[in-house]
């Protein structure tokens, strides 16, 4: 008897804040079908199309020398831009979160610039600076330095479009952690560097991983800015996204999707690592 009363109370307790069951199911169905239609289906389509002509053709497409060089260039661009942005992001976040200095809000705004500018414009900026008709173009040509339509330009454009990721992730995290642990380290006799490497950095390590993963995904997947500075030289200045476009425009669908499937897999790995990092960050801040 008492149990049943208890149950009734509990049921009333939840129904007070929840919608009727049919509303909940309807909302769930709408959300799920939307996800299926716009996210799951295209993702599945990429892999289906890629394997349309069987495994052999799939592997053959990836072995193509131009494609292979595109993969290599993408890895080089990511390997250059992620470390640069890691150093920049950590220093900028540290300075912004832990110190007060003039120009701080300007710096925060500037960090967001690549997010607010169209990637095409980001690419054009470099063409205007380093291109033949640009400010530094004649000088660079005189000294035989190639930046635009060459690998350095691609790396510069990639660095530009990906630089907010790590800083943006770390600033709120570091701000929420405050300065007290660093002050404690100082009073215990630690130097500035010891404090940074033994206290500040370990406290944000999951945030750093999260930022690096997002930064890497964008570095490998960037199309617009890279497209402007690349010049689309086959086997030399094409990255994976550019190669996908070329193959697609040449009606080699299977090959285009095979290369695209690499980016899709990168996305899946990114999501998985990102979930783990998010979970860890939540765990660390819950422990506080």
């Amino acid at each position: 008897m008492q149990v049943s009363i208890h149950r009734t109370v509990k049921k009333n307790g939840t129904s007070g804040i929840a919608e009727p069951a049919w509303v909940r199911y309807l909302l769930l169905a709408v959300a799920l079908s939307f996800l299926t239609l716009f996210l799951m289906l295209p993702l599945a389509a990429v892999f289906v199309q890629a394997l349309d002509k069987g495994w052999e053709a799939y592997l053959e497409a990836l072995k193509d020398p131009d494609t292979f060089s595109a993969i290599k260039l993408t890895l080089v661009a990511a390997a250059c831009s992620v470390p640069v942005n890691l150093v920049f992001g950590v220093t900028a976040a540290w300075a912004i979160a832990k110190f007060a200095f003039p120009g701080k809000s300007l710096l925060i705004t500037l960090i967001d610039l690549p997010f607010s500018v169209s990637p095409v414009v980001s690419g054009l900026i470099y063409v205007l600076i380093f291109g033949l008709q640009g400010w530094l173009g004649p000088w660079l040509q005189a000294h035989d330095v190639k930046i635009i339509f060459a690998v350095p330009g691609i790396i510069l454009a990639t660095i530009f479009v990906t630089f907010p990721f790590i800083a943006r992730e770390l600033i709120p995290l570091m701000e929420s952690q405050g300065r007290e642990e660093e002050e404690a380290a100082l009073t215990l006799g630690a130097s500035g560097l010891q404090t940074f490497f033994r206290v500040t950095l370990p406290n944000v390590r999951w945030g750093i991983l999260y930022g690096v993963i997002l930064c890497n995904a964008r570095a490998m997947g960037e199309f617009g800015a890279v497209s402007v500075v690349s010049g689309h030289v086959r086997g030399s200045t094409n990255t994976i996204p550019l190669q996908v476009e070329i193959l697609y425009n040449e009606y080699s669908y299977a090959a285009a999707f095979a290369v695209a499937s690499l980016l899709a897999m990168l996305a899946l790995v990114t999501l998985a690592v990102k979930s783990v990092a998010e979970w860890k960050i939540r765990q660390v801040s819950a422990a506080e």
Binding site: A184, L186, E288
Partner: protein, 355 residues
């Protein structure tokens, strides 16, 4: 190590956190900086630690100029209100931190560090929790770890910023008694900041009462409590009743009360304020000796061992009196009854000391 503060001032923008503060903390004493929030006590503590820099004035350690010394050269232990333990390190690593960051030449060996941390864990009675992370400890345990961490580097001064402020009442009481016993054992010069007068009165050798960036009074707990130098100190230490009137040639006239006030023997009909602590008011059923005023009980509230009585005085004033429970029971007070109230002790300040 003794600490001397000379003419210290600190502003944050337009806000004067400290103005012209002078203070002497003798070696080996436990001193409380007591004051409301915004009184400058934490700023003073952080300047002593080197975490903040004064705009003017000097800090001397053992008579030696230390104002420009770096934090790490000051040999101070600092305990934060919110513990500031390193969240990614175990209790053991937290306590060992100060030893492991020493320069190679001074750094003790691994075994020595282990022994020292074990001794400190024993001191704070947390031997079994060496492998835990701060997030797995209670507030009281965290603060004890923070203390052990500060003591590990054998500081010459221990500075504590509201060390018990974030703890619940019972743990707070235990921990402050523990701190007092600890200090009696190790005698390291200690300064702690608090806004809790009871804490300061119970724990400290000396109390420095601060208000609006200045020191109002300093002295032993009984000096500060029994002989408040200013109206602010009187008001801050315990609940008080305020009387307005005039003082002339050593006698104060406050409403219906005449109070002997020898310290104002030269006063010439000056406006004055009288302070009477709530527990310095006697309530009687009969008029008794002179000085009693007739009053009506308007409110009664039992607070633990005390009974708080609100009295409405004939002139319209309201007094608050705190009686021990037995005293209230003996009088059998009830709301609406007529009684006689008499301040046993009044401290009179001439009015230029405006609060």
């Amino acid at each position: 190590m003794s600490i001397t503060i000379e003419n210290l001032s600190k502003n944050f923008g337009n806000f004067a956190a400290l103005s012209d503060v002078n203070l002497e903390v003798p070696s080996g004493e436990l001193v409380a900086l007591l004051g409301p929030s915004g009184s400058g006590k934490t700023s003073l503590l952080r300047i002593i630690a080197g975490l903040e820099h004064p705009d003017r004035g000097t800090v001397l350690f053992n008579g030696q100029e230390a104002t420009r010394r770096q934090v790490k050269q000051r040999k101070v232990g600092f305990v934060f209100q919110h513990y500031a333990l390193f969240r990614h390190m175990t209790v053991f690593d937290n306590i060992a931190f100060g030893l492991t960051v020493k320069a190679k030449a001074e750094r003790p060996g691994k075994a020595e560090i282990r022994d020292k941390v074990a001794r400190l864990l024993k001191l704070i009675q947390l031997e079994q929790l060496a492998g835990r992370y701060p997030g797995q400890l209670s507030g009281g345990q965290r603060q004890r770890v923070a203390l052990a961490r500060a003591l590990a580097v054998e500081p010459e001064v221990l500075l504590l910023d509201e060390p018990f402020g974030a703890l619940d009442a019972k743990v707070r009481l235990e921990l402050r008694r523990w701190l007092r016993r600890l200090h009696d054992e190790i005698h390291v010069t200690s300064v702690f900041v608090t806004h809790d007068q009871e804490e300061a009165l119970e724990v400290a050798d000396r109390i420095v009462v601060m208000n609006k960036g200045r020191i109002e009074q300093e002295g032993t707990p009984s000096e500060v409590y029994d002989h408040p130098a200013t109206p602010f100190v009187f008001d801050f230490l315990g609940s008080v009743n305020l009387f307005r009137g005039r003082v002339h040639a050593g006698t104060a006239q406050m409403g219906g009360l005449r109070v002997h006030s020898p310290e104002h023997a030269t006063a010439d009909d000056a406006p004055a304020i009288g302070y009477v602590r709530a527990h310095d008011i006697t309530i009687e059923r009969v008029p008794g000796e002179g000085g009693a005023v007739s009053a009506e009980v308007s409110h009664l509230l039992s607070v633990g061992p005390l009974v708080r009585v609100e009295l409405r005085i004939a002139g319209g004033d309201t007094w608050e009196a705190n009686l021990p429970r037995e005293e209230a029971d003996r009088l059998q007070l009830a709301v609406g009854e007529k009684v006689f109230a008499r301040p046993r002790k009044m401290r009179v300040f001439v009015e230029d000391y405006q609060i």
